[in-house]
């Protein structure tokens, strides 16, 4: 095996220094009757050539976005990733380092993460960003726990039914063992009804969770919802799409307390759903209640500006069972991807991507709804993703498109939790990013018309 160094002779020399006769003697603390008396039952080892052939064979059975026209959404999107992003994260100095506990040996990562935090603050208009969480779904749950700590209200959380069904499932799981009522406000019209939300909120509510644009692709009345939460002393939590902020008002502009996101659109490949990037931002005054790592700027003993892991007293390795979260390993390399991506795009590039997604999505929606039996499920403003209602179900449409090389979805039937929606069976999500062309959209329409 090419990753090991010790020759048999060196092993002998080393055992002599240790003062034992064999490697087996080093395991003397492991009782014989607990030792595995056979070899592990694994397939025989492969050389690099064989491994590459095997992986290529497996990968060849999958229809990835690179060989298709991907119009799939639901929280992960086929956005363009500039080559420079791959180049930077492919540097061993970044990807083979670890958590920057030793600041002096990690200024590269620390400064990059500090810049990540700054870029995310500018993107969102929020005061503070942490250095990443696992992904967008757990970021919502972490935000809810944080809201409970801030408000000291532990008994009730209100979430809109238009929030990603998996985010809601995760929240349900995370809250299982805590005595907390999770109230879901149904959104049969696709977006929240302000009166229904107001009715659900009370002075025991820790927070209101909103996704904007929401799971169906629609814009919520995010500002009014945020105000409703504040009226009863709850925090407002918004899950946003980072690309949408090239056009839409930023969460910090309309009074959100904790803004979270799935950062996948920022230069991160689909990878069958992971690893992705959880983003969590908040107002300055909540900084000590935040979960996860936070990079701070300071000076060294010579007065030189430098960066460190900051406010570690919040974290599990110091505070243990009183920590603000159990998270340790985060998504550093994905945060680096987002940092490089946003640096390359700049404000003009982000605006362009955002506009292209929005315009092309509207064109696609207009063309697709010209087809008999296909209409928009909700007559509401949307950003880059929309929900089609397909008479007679979604499966035929999805399969017909797929056979011609176009991937649509997910279908709403894949998720069981749309309370108050009678026609979820007919719902099909379609997402359109800047990578799609008018020609592709027109060809899809032709395929579906036949």
């Amino acid at each position: 095996m090419t990753y090991l160094f010790n020759t048999p002779e060196q092993q002998r020399q080393m055992l002599d220094v240790i003062g034992v006769g064999s490697i087996d003697d080093l395991y003397s603390d492991i009782p014989q009757d607990l030792r595995l008396q056979r070899s592990l039952d694994l397939s025989p080892p492969l050389t690099e050539i064989e491994l590459q052939a095997h992986l290529s064979e497996l990968a060849g059975q999958d229809d990835g976005a690179g060989s298709r026209v991907c119009m799939q959404g639901g929280g992960a999107y086929d956005h363009f990733v500039p080559a420079a992003v791959d180049e930077i994260v492919g540097r061993g100095e970044f990807y083979t380092a670890y958590t920057p506990y030793q600041a002096e040996a990690s200024q590269g990562s620390l400064q990059a993460f500090f810049e990540f935090q700054t870029l995310i603050c500018r993107l969102t208009g929020m005061d503070v960003s942490n250095a990443s969480l696992y992904e967008g779904g757990t970021a919502v749950s972490e935000a809810v726990f944080m809201a409970m700590r801030v408000t000291r209200r532990h008994g009730k959380v209100v979430v809109l039914g238009s929030v990603h069904p998996e985010y809601r499932q995760i929240l349900t799981t995370y809250l299982t063992r805590l005595n907390c009522e999770l109230v879901e406000v149904p959104t049969p019209d696709g977006t929240a009804d302000l009166d229904r939300v107001a009715d659900a909120l009370d002075d025991q509510t820790a927070c209101l969770v909103v996704q904007h644009p929401n799971f169906f692709g629609l814009l919520e009345q995010a500002e009014q919802l945020s105000n409703l939460a504040h009226k009863c002393g709850a925090l407002s939590i918004v899950s946003f799409d980072p690309i949408s902020l090239g056009l839409l008002k930023r969460p910090g502009d309309y009074g959100v307390d904790i803004a979270v996101a799935e950062g996948q659109p920022l230069g991160i490949p689909l990878q069958y759903g992971g690893p992705l990037l959880g983003i969590l931002t908040c107002r300055e005054k909540f900084i000590r209640k935040m979960p996860g790592r936070l990079i701070g700027q300071t000076t060294d003993r010579n007065g030189k500006t430098c960066y460190v892991l900051n406010l570690q007293a919040r974290e599990q390795h110091i505070r243990r069972d009183k920590a603000t979260s159990n998270i340790c390993t985060n998504q550093g390399l994905l945060a680096l991807r987002a940092t490089v991506y946003l640096s390359l795009l700049g404000k003009a590039g982000l605006r362009e991507v955002s506009e292209l997604c929005c315009r092309k999505a509207h064109y696609a929606a207009e063309q697709l709804t010209n087809i008999d039996g296909i209409e928009l499920m909700f007559d509401r403003p949307f950003f880059k993703e929309f929900t089609l209602r397909c008479q007679g179900g979604t499966e035929n449409i999805r399969k017909k498109a797929a056979a011609a090389g176009f991937d649509l979805g997910p279908e709403l039937t894949s998720f069981a939790n749309f309370s108050g929606m009678n026609d979820a069976n007919d719902g099909l999500l379609v997402a359109v990013t800047e990578t799609r062309t008018r020609d592709e959209i027109d060809r899809l329409v032709d395929v579906l018309k036949k």
Partner: protein, 496 residues
């Protein structure tokens, strides 16, 4: 050699009008934006992101990267983190079309290759654990712990048992109590230990009908295998509790012994540690869990299952067996979106396929050999107080150096950086004064270990005042963390 201009904060490098990425003109009919979106939802101007060219960006981050130590460039004996070499083939193969660009909601019939890979990964992890049921969903070890504790809670609940306590030794990783608290359990820490090992009498005194789970890292964080682990597990099972094995230290026992064989009921892996993730300057990881068969139905979904017969429509591969996503019948629910940290799991899969059974055994043999060799080489200056031999890592102490010469573990750690070595983990586990937790891993040569040991000997002879100021050659030295915490500056602000 350092390009200080390029490593200025991104925002200082920004020049209005510069572009690092441009996109095609829109090819669809150009309608006014406020026809598409409500005017009141639109921002008045886009976010103030920096304006840079692609060469600006590349030069900035390439220069930043040179300020890092990394496994590719340095010996990185960071205890508990298993900083082993990350094979380059993994990076190439994880980037294959069909893997890297597969949408998480791609239909099963169009993702059979990925599902097969993940199914086989479940099988391999089950075999290595000696525990039959695996969930690949957790994003990292800490989430694996939390997941398993929720599985345990669901199991007890169905049995109508009110078990409220999670126990762990004082040497436990901080994630153990943090995960237990998050899962709604009362944390009970056992402060008493016997030579760094679990004290059976103390354990007995903590066990009761309230005991849900005992979380144990084995080998433990002192690098010692718990020789009484079978007895410990039996004691837990006798009171109806479960044993959770924190798998952070699996690198020591691959193919030697298995958590399932020494009484563990649940465990997590750290794929980024044991199976060469890589670590990504803080993540991503992957923290799959393996559990006994009676816990399988509670695992989070989806898991991959194999069954005879084609998917619908049948795959054109001629195979009779196809792979599917299934949610276990009594599942605790979902822990994260989509399937899991698949990109890391693919790398772990490549590693296991490359090594096979003998290769894995060789990994542990050499990891344990390297650790014991290094322990012996530095014992005269940095002794290990617990245990004559160690497993894959050891915890040395600078206690005597501190008492006699005022040289702390931190001083030594910082000075090592000047010699091109990353520091060991210091001041953990908390049960050892002036702890230096050293894990060389199997992918280091005797020459490197000798050089490291010689360097340590040289350092401890140096003047203590000089060491207090170390590092001397790193880009920065001894950041002021107190001020950083008192007045947090967590984003760049213009100095104007």
């Amino acid at each position: 050699m350092r390009n200080k201009l390029a490593t200025q904060p991104l925002f200082k490098l920004s020049v209005p009008g510069r572009r690092g990425a441009v996109f095609p003109d829109s090819d669809v009919p150009q309608r006014p934006l406020d026809e598409l979106l409500p005017a009141e939802q639109l921002a008045t101007s886009p976010p103030e992101l920096p304006e840079l060219t692609e060469p600006d960006v590349i030069r900035h981050f390439v220069n930043l990267s040179t300020l890092n130590m990394s496994v590719d460039a340095n010996f990185y004996p960071l205890g508990s983190c298993t900083m082993k070499y990350n094979p380059k083939r993994h990076e190439r193969l994880a980037g294959l079309t069909g893997l890297v660009d597969l949408h998480p909601y791609q239909s099963e019939d169009r993702s059979q290759g990925m599902l097969q890979l993940l199914f086989e990964m479940q099988q391999m992890l089950a075999e290595i654990a000696g525990l039959p049921a695996v969930s690949l969903q957790p994003a990292a070890g800490a989430q694996g712990e939390f997941t398993a504790l929720l599985v345990a809670a669901a199991y007890f609940r169905e049995r109508g048992e009110e078990r409220t306590q999670v126990l762990f030794p004082s040497s436990a990783h901080g994630t153990n109590p943090a995960s237990a608290a998050l899962a709604g359990f009362e944390c009970v820490q056992m402060d008493k230990s016997k030579n760094g090992l679990v004290d059976l009498d103390a354990l007995a005194s903590h066990l009761s009908e309230k005991t849900a789970v005992f979380m144990i890292t084995n080998p433990n964080t002192l690098g010692l295998f718990e020789p009484d682990i079978a007895k410990i597990s039996q004691m837990l099972h006798d009171v109806g509790g479960l044993v959770y094995v924190d798998g952070a230290n699996m690198n020591a026992i691959l193919g030697v012994t298995r958590p399932g064989d020494f009484g563990g009921d649940m465990m997590h892996y750290n794929v980024h540690k044991t199976f060469t993730g890589p670590h990504g300057a803080g993540g991503p990881g992957a923290g799959p869990i393996a559990v006994r068969d009676f816990l399988a139905d509670y695992l989070p979904g989806p898991v991959v299952t194999k069954r005879a017969g084609g998917v619908n429509p049948p795959v054109d591969s001629g195979e009779d067996e196809t792979y599917h996503l299934t949610t276990p019948t009594k599942s605790i629910g979902r822990m994260r979106t989509f399937f899991g940290n698949v990109g890391i799991l693919v790398r772990g899969y490549c590693y296991l396929k490359t090594l096979g059974a003998q290769g894995l055994r060789d990994v542990s043999d050499n990891a344990v050999l390297n650790a014991n060799y290094l322990m012996a080489k530095v014992a005269d200056i940095l002794p290990t107080e617990q245990g004559k031999l160690c497993m894959h890592e050891f915890v040395a102490t600078a206690r005597i150096l501190k008492q006699e010469r005022g040289i702390s573990a931190m001083d030594i750690a910082k000075r090592l950086l000047d010699f091109g070595f990353h520091a060991p983990t210091v001041y953990f586990p908390l049960v050892v004064a002036e702890a230096m937790m050293i894990e060389p891993t199997e992918t280091e040569s005797k020459e490197t270990l000798d050089h490291f040991a010689e360097t340590l000997h040289r350092i401890v002879e140096e003047d203590s005042e000089f060491l207090h100021l170390a590092p001397h050659e790193a880009p920065v030295s001894r950041p002021d963390e107190v001020t950083a915490a008192r007045k947090p500056v967590v984003k760049w602000m213009s100095q104007k």
